[in-house]
């Protein structure tokens, strides 16, 4: 299990044990963490699972694909550490990961 901390826009945090192999998005949705909508269920089709990855974890979460990059390009309030959480696979190396959620996914 990897411990992932999801911090809502209002500061409420959710510390969740996520099974390696799931995505960061699935870890949130399956545990009813508010603020990650993931309308398309992880098909990289909607950009409603936008998160900000804590700077300390940017290297470990890997590179964005071209598809993810261009979806994010049109999301709201995008920052350099923005990711689509359906595209981050959880592994033991991500134990301790911290992500922050935007005010809105739409």
């Amino acid at each position: 299990m990897a411990k992932i901390t999801y911090i809502e826009h209002d500061g409420t945090d959710h510390v969740i044990d996520v099974k390696p192999g799931l995505t960061v998005m699935e870890g949130a949705v399956k545990n009813n963490v508010p603020g990650i909508d993931a309308d398309c269920g992880g098909a990289c089709a909607c950009a409603t699972c936008h998160v900000y990855v804590d700077d300390a974890w940017l290297d470990k979460t890997g590179e964005k694909s071209a598809m993810e990059e261009s979806m994010l390009d049109f999301a709201e309030n995008v920052e350099p550490n923005s990711r689509l959480s359906c595209q981050i696979k959880v592994s033991d190396a991500l134990d301790g990961l911290v992500v922050r959620l935007p005010e809105s996914q739409h």
Binding site: V29, K30, N31, N32, P34, D37, D39, C40, G41, A43, C44, A45, C46, A47, M67, S70, M71, D73, F74, A75, H106
Partner: protein, 414 residues
Amino acid sequence: MSEAGTGDLTARVVIVGAGHAGGSAAAFLRQYGHTGPIVLIGDEPLLPYQRPPLSKAWLKGEADADSLQLKPTTWYEEAGVSLRLGGVVVSINRGAKTVTLASGEHLPYDYLILATGARARALPIPGADLSGVLALRTAADAEALKEALGPGKRLAVVGGGYVGLEAAASTVALGGHATIIERESRVLARVACETLSVFFQDYHGERGVTFVLNAGVEGFEGRDGHVTGVRLSDRSVIACDVALVGVGAVPNEELARDAGLHCANGVVVDIEARTADPFVFAIGDLTHRPLPIYDRQFRLESVPNALEQAKQAAAAIAGKPMPPHEIPWFWSDQYDLKLQIAGLPFDADRQVVRGDVAAARFAVFHLKGDLVQAVEAVNAPPEFMAGKQLIAKRTPVSIEKLADTTISMKEVAA
């Protein structure tokens, strides 16, 4: 009795239908702080799960029941959502505010959410009851289809819609052969523009899928109770090991209609997913709902629609602000193609193609004057995302810029 929409967080909510819409409504109610009892009734034996992967990842063995579940099994108990899986509601008594299950159980409600979805349209033709004549709507359907597919297996699809095309792509990936039989002169005739139809047919054709267009289907042929072919109106027969009927879906509105709720190709709801009865909501594929941008009512079959209305019903019951209205959108994955559609081409008077169709990276914009009504994007996320924003904002665009790929979508949408 609680007042409708005043946010009585202790109200008793009964949700009929445990699909994407019903399951999400339960989850959103808890997210919005609702503490009252929630009963979720579904006629399938399964917890709410995602249906879109059934024609794709499921058939290819890349998804299982666990991975498709909306919430883990433990969540329902933790969240205090009481389940009646395999439960069938036979009637609603709106006066007494109860629903009655086939088992005879009566369940009282303060608020009722109808989320009974839609069912695959059946073909009333000879042989439709042969084994191996399948629909694709539920996990059980998908499992039956998966078992019939494999190397060398022949799938005949009646209906060239998204379900049929996605199943054909999965069949090819599994080493089988697919034939798509379509009544119209092109696939996706009801749901996409001709440029897209031709593109998808060519793309499938290059990968070995056979198309029979302008073809009426007269019946299914079989041996020992199992389908062996599809008989067309010209008497020719398409031989197959399994047949998939994908000719659209019809809303499961009978329960609502019998309860006196207004139905017109779906249960008629307002922009907050409420029926004419302030204590009854309807959400998802079941509903005939307003589309404010297009100034009309329409029945949408999509996950984003199910989620939007689930949020609306939950927000109304929990007394939370209404979520912002969304532009209808859809997606489909076939081979290495990602199709994303935003909006609906109502009242459109011209089409603008942006990008290179031959290179499988393009978008078709549907405009009414200089307003974007809809965009169909193939492997073109910027066009989809910017198009969706343009549809929502109702800002005019320059046709010349839109067609010019040297000008970025950011600039076009600016």
